[in-house]
Point group: C2
Chain length 222, copies 2
DNA sequence: AATAGTTTCATACAATTGTTTGAAACGCAA
DNA sequence: TTGCGTTTCAAACAATTGTATGAAACTATT
């Protein structure tokens, strides 16, 4: 048994490096240097570089999804089986945003790694990614229970846009800061979450007010 | 002059391949094979691989931004100098969505290349990317004119979220299709644009109705 | 036709990549 | 200690990468 020191050292180093530099420019030699282990250790313990990445991704996926589902259940329990739509979406985007934003020192490599994984679609991950859809479906049906009058299509779009805002905020946080001259405070994670959730919920619930507001739906065809 | 046949052949091939496979797994040899030119041609005509990518990115950036600004101006002219917020956002996200979605055969390599460039942040592009902020600022100030009562911060967030929804829709179109069992029709580009714009506009204008709706802003601190 | 400049080409180069190898070091039961 | 399975290590390997070279093929001016 022996606690597999080098194995976990490799995992930690790989996650850290992948999280901050992306998959494409982190080599095995970078990883083993960071982990202070021998080059051959990766192949010995994981078989190949791809299997290392795959194991990382699977492990972290499970952890993230578990946290999201935990928050979803919590919200549903609090509402007696039917969660508020805001709370559902908060359970969806909260964990990843909390992991990737906020003061630099308390960001988790896990969350940042997952973002990288969702951006740079490297083969070993692409192969696994199908399962994520099953996970999202659970949120879709929770949303359906929260907003029984909404059409399924609209719910899917709402779910999709919530993830869009969350991920894009993480990926482009630097640009938003620059664009706004620092006015948009990305360290206030709960405010960011609230904005994302609010944006998504509005899109889902403001149907009735659409006519009242000045929103002009594009004329489809001339 | 001689029309620089091989030069443009390389540009076209590179753009096509980068657009569909990403930067990280397209080699110079892939490009020259696709372009039917000699391997050394890239270095002869562009100096290096990075310079090829940079030239592509600069050219395409300019083209995309020009189209966006053209539509913005058009909207502003139609409104006598003050464009509707929906039209501003449509000018922002329309061109890239039209280029990347819709029936496969009519997608433009240009738009898809730009999305790749915004995803895989490869060094030569990262160096240039600062200029994009100036471009976005023009949209920010147009939005300010359209919604003079909104706070600057909210406008920046709205702009940011509009881009978020557009880009994420392009990147994850396949997943959304699967998740919704094909119910979300990503070939109906104008519908997608309308949804993105509507979502962003709601976030920007629904402030007053916020109390009325069931949106619950997260309690910041206990 | 002869020449000078440009472009193409096959080939080679040096560097980097993931992976393999076989011996050494280690842990631990007999 | 002996022996055996596991783990580590330095070194090498084969493949792939971007780039450089120098001769050949072209183009166009004289």
């Amino acid at each position: 048994m022996a606690t597999d020191q080098t194995r976990t050292a490799i995992l930690i180093a790989a996650e850290r490096l992948y999280a901050e530099r992306g998959f494409s420019d982190v080599t095995l030699r970078d990883i083993v240097a960071e982990a202070n282990v021998n080059l051959a250790a990766v192949n010995y313990h994981f078989g190949s570089k791809d299997e290392l990445i795959a194991e990382l991704f699977v492990t972290r996926s499970i952890a993230l999804n578990r946290e999201r589902l935990r928050e979803l259940r919590e919200a549903e329990d609090a509402g007696g089986g039917r969660a508020d739509i805001s709370d559902i979406l908060r359970a969806l985007v909260g964990p990843i945003l909390r992991g990737c934003l906020g003061p630099e020192n308390q960001r988790s490599a896990v969350a940042q790694f997952m973002i990288r994984a969702s951006i740079e679609s490297v083969p070993p991950i692409r192969r696994i990614k199908t399962k994520e859809i099953d996970h999202l479906r659970k949120f879709a049906s929770a949303m359906q229970r929260a907003l029984p009058d909404s059409s399924e299509v609209d719910l899917f779009w709402g779910l999709h846009f919530a993830l869009a805002m969350a991920h894009h905020t993480i990926r482009e946080s630097e640009r938003l800061t620059k664009l706004s001259d620092g006015q948009c405070d990305l360290d206030d994670v709960e405010d960011v979450i609230a904005r994302v959730v609010r944006g998504a919920v509005l899109g889902l619930t403001a149907r009735d007010q659409a006519a009242k507001s000045k929103v002009k739906i594009a004329a489809r065809s001339p």
